[in-house]
Symmetry: D2
Subunit: 324 residues, 4 copies
Amino acid sequence: MAKEIKTIGVLTSGGDAPGMNAAIRAVVRTAIARGLKVKGIKKGYQGLLNEEIIDMEAKDVSDIIQRGGTILGTARCLEFKEAEGQKKGAEICRKHGIDGIVVIGGDGSYRGAQALSRLGINTIGLPGTIDLDIACTEYTIGFDTAVNTAMQAIDKVKDTSSSHERCSIIEVMGRNAGYIALWCGIANGAEDILLPEKYDYNEQNIINNIITNRKHGKTHHIIINAEGIGHSTSMARRIEAATGIETRATILGYMQRGGSPTAKDRYYASIMGAYAVDIMLEGKTNRVVGYQHGEFIDFDIEEALQMQKGINEYQFEVSHLLSI
Amino acid sequence: MAKEIKTIGVLTSGGDAPGMNAAIRAVVRTAIARGLKVKGIKKGYQGLLNEEIIDMEAKDVSDIIQRGGTILGTARCLEFKEAEGQKKGAEICRKHGIDGIVVIGGDGSYRGAQALSRLGINTIGLPGTIDLDIACTEYTIGFDTAVNTAMQAIDKVKDTSSSHERCSIIEVMGRNAGYIALWCGIANGAEDILLPEKYDYNEQNIINNIITNRKHGKTHHIIINAEGIGHSTSMARRIEAATGIETRATILGYMQRGGSPTAKDRYYASIMGAYAVDIMLEGKTNRVVGYQHGEFIDFDIEEALQMQKGINEYQFEVSHLLSI
Amino acid sequence: MAKEIKTIGVLTSGGDAPGMNAAIRAVVRTAIARGLKVKGIKKGYQGLLNEEIIDMEAKDVSDIIQRGGTILGTARCLEFKEAEGQKKGAEICRKHGIDGIVVIGGDGSYRGAQALSRLGINTIGLPGTIDLDIACTEYTIGFDTAVNTAMQAIDKVKDTSSSHERCSIIEVMGRNAGYIALWCGIANGAEDILLPEKYDYNEQNIINNIITNRKHGKTHHIIINAEGIGHSTSMARRIEAATGIETRATILGYMQRGGSPTAKDRYYASIMGAYAVDIMLEGKTNRVVGYQHGEFIDFDIEEALQMQKGINEYQFEVSHLLSI
Amino acid sequence: MAKEIKTIGVLTSGGDAPGMNAAIRAVVRTAIARGLKVKGIKKGYQGLLNEEIIDMEAKDVSDIIQRGGTILGTARCLEFKEAEGQKKGAEICRKHGIDGIVVIGGDGSYRGAQALSRLGINTIGLPGTIDLDIACTEYTIGFDTAVNTAMQAIDKVKDTSSSHERCSIIEVMGRNAGYIALWCGIANGAEDILLPEKYDYNEQNIINNIITNRKHGKTHHIIINAEGIGHSTSMARRIEAATGIETRATILGYMQRGGSPTAKDRYYASIMGAYAVDIMLEGKTNRVVGYQHGEFIDFDIEEALQMQKGINEYQFEVSHLLSI
């Protein structure tokens, strides 16, 4: 028989992402509307272990849906990767009367949620990462905002790149996943896109492409480079040396993690937050919420962690067709 | 046997939408990359009848992916609703060697495409409308940009509404469909959302809601009203009279149709434009491209026009839960 | 001998304006840095009379510089226009130990400041209004943000106006002053600009201008209309009837009062806030801070209220030259 | 007697800046409105020497006021620093019937304008640089847009910096001038601002400041570093080592040079462009246009180049007061 849930906790874990506040707000208000009590846990699992736990009312999440970052704070926590720390965490939950926790974060955060679930604390994960690199879901909280932030910055770089007839390399976030790079590549009309999943490290191809385009009258050349490839500054030096064309690198960096969330990030994060509370009330635990095939659904965490996803081949081909 | 396609035309029809330029660019460049010739048809079906037809090269669509509006222009055309006009249009296509046309527009534009298809001109429709009111697809070109534009404007109205402790009614576009209103309602954390699909015209409920919220300490009250409900200004007057709380209406209007497209509108419109060309090359005609269940697919136009879609009940319920 | 100032109050009055929070922050932190105590007075003079007065520390103004609206709230107050109310206000100041008040608001707010000054409470006014209609200063808090907000909205309207070859009338704020209209007129490249200071109500001139431009190949016609002229919707109907060209009106409304302030509004409001505290410490009272001839300076309130300013003739002429 | 001006040229030189297109548009349209012919010179002085010269009509500058970059292109030109190249340039002007040139660019561009003036080609300079480092003017084309771009990016970095309780160093443009850094420092509420004009390279002060702030409960620490100081990445490493607080550097780079210009950059660049044409018609040459003490005025180029300007001491002091 399903455990009765009277009080839930909510925390954000791993790298922050725009839309996390919308998810927190939705968890808090849905829970209260369903008659539950809510505790906010600060600074992820670290804050749980430090008992940085506060009561949350509906008004505590007023006026946050439009803000970047996470009002709860986030942190990495090595201690919670160990059985000892996890056990301590479950005990602290019990001490504070927390029956279940909604964990908003990336893949790395779900292992902790699994552990808590095994220890009797119901857990539901929400996919919060700008990198879109969670296999069970086509949507992750923060990706849409991060892509729009990067795209708008690249639009600006392209202006000056065209005025000076430069080549520009713009490095976007994505250590293992090239989704931000692919999206910006298409959305900014880039001439080359370097993804961890696809790039063959053949710089000569890029150089040839630049020279050919210049002959055909293109006055700029935009290369979107994913963080996972990196080395944009040295790449710029080599390309300038090989082509004789002024080449500059820009590493967009942390601005991609912040900013007021887009409509999609506010909307989807809100629905996911409500959904997490509602399936917890159905007795579910050890689940992660995803958006797949046009629906919000949930998966067993272990299954979700075994899934794989990659770059869509047709869309990658289109990125090349459109840069002619 | 499928007709061989050597030259395709592209036109935009009905109300313009941000992302139409990205779709035009993708049609032009994919067609050229696939070895076709491309003709741009100006001002929709009206321009076809007036033979406002231009050759398009890859460079003619440079530097347009980031721009609102449509470089081809658009117009309504009563003449093309008649068999006479449609026949004339097909003849003009033949005269200019146009084997197929990609039509970017709303539901209304597909009837013309059907007619052209029956008359031997292959046609593929792309869903271009900010209203999201095309049943066969979860995505329409322009919706994402329009929602973000409206949302950002409403964020600003909310600032001043809070400073003055006002009630604000903001009217967003959507004559028959409340999607923009629902999205803004959730994304802006509105207290009330009035949708053509759901609103019971019981203004007393809204008034009671305002009075209750004020008692609970809320310092503003945001009502998102869809164009299909309308009458925001008189509604504001009645609410102010009934509640004694200063109430103001803002009708966002045409700004929602313009502006640089979001990443999603640029990306999806690009993929859809390429996809339209590629299925035309497979011999398809009388089809409309959609995005459904996580995939880009295509439907028979007649079937697509028979489909229905509505407001998701769970998401509508969540919009109420979150405004407590 | 100048009165010793130990505690100052700060309030915002009249219509809110983006940058007011930056000014509040600067008043609070400069005062604390100079060794003073600070009281925040909520909802303008009304809040003063209601004794809605709170202690403010440096951290109370953290993370507000980037926010629209005013954290103190604002309201109109008829009672404070009477000698009775003013006397009560001064007594409440004394009761709370408030030696001086910084009043952030428009012309209307300075009368109250004068009265308090006469009653022994030192007062310094800061020019807070999006309309730029304070004669003693070339800068008012909020104007720069409001103009940018309006301009960006008009850029979007222009996109769709061009796609449909429409005429668009866009009404911007400014009841007695046409500065927002003039600035948008030039910044958006409008074909006509209607200012309260200049417009002769000769609609036939506008109609002729539209017809001439259309003949010369212009595909849109943008008219910026100041609120002080108004009647945009009926004007649109008349112009459409007279020209046969589809004409639409958009009234931008309250969004112009909100939004995250621009760099200029944050910077100037910050300097002005600090300056207000520093001149109060020099013993000044009954002064208003302005920016004139490249400097932050201060004026006697009565003198400031007697000043006049108008539309620069050369700049108004340029607005016509550039719309050819 | 003043030379009669019948045809003027316009070029952009040095680093591009948002608003240059507004200035080009104003030069072209004012000149045409005054009965002149206009030639556009591409790629600065280099394009002049290469005779990349085109006729410009009013419609050639349609729809550019809102765009970043420069439609004429820009480039550096060593050849034009020599007497030989300057003589050749003046001859090419005469060959093309160009009586005068408006040069939009930074200090470096005015030497070339002086030379042309001595050689009989009337010249007027407009201050175009995002760095604000032209001494004769309080306004330069592009600064306002660049500061707003940087400020908005820093707002986003601050979001994630707060969520993770990090220290963030953000490097903004300004090789010799710290204006962008000072403005962002105040507008973003930075804890430290490092300017070429003021920084004493005493990193220990910064480290102490971080440690003190952390003790007082501040959850982030933003350092704005001007390009002229540089070395942000190594500085971040040293600060992290000394404080034990996670510290990250972001170098905003070229995005600061692009983007749609702000209202101020569109408005002032428009007035300056018109003004340049009008004083050229009065027979003036070898002048640079500036904005000083609330007015658009003009200076002898040599005088202008001898002027000095620095950081305002009071405003710099305020930047410290407000970061408590």
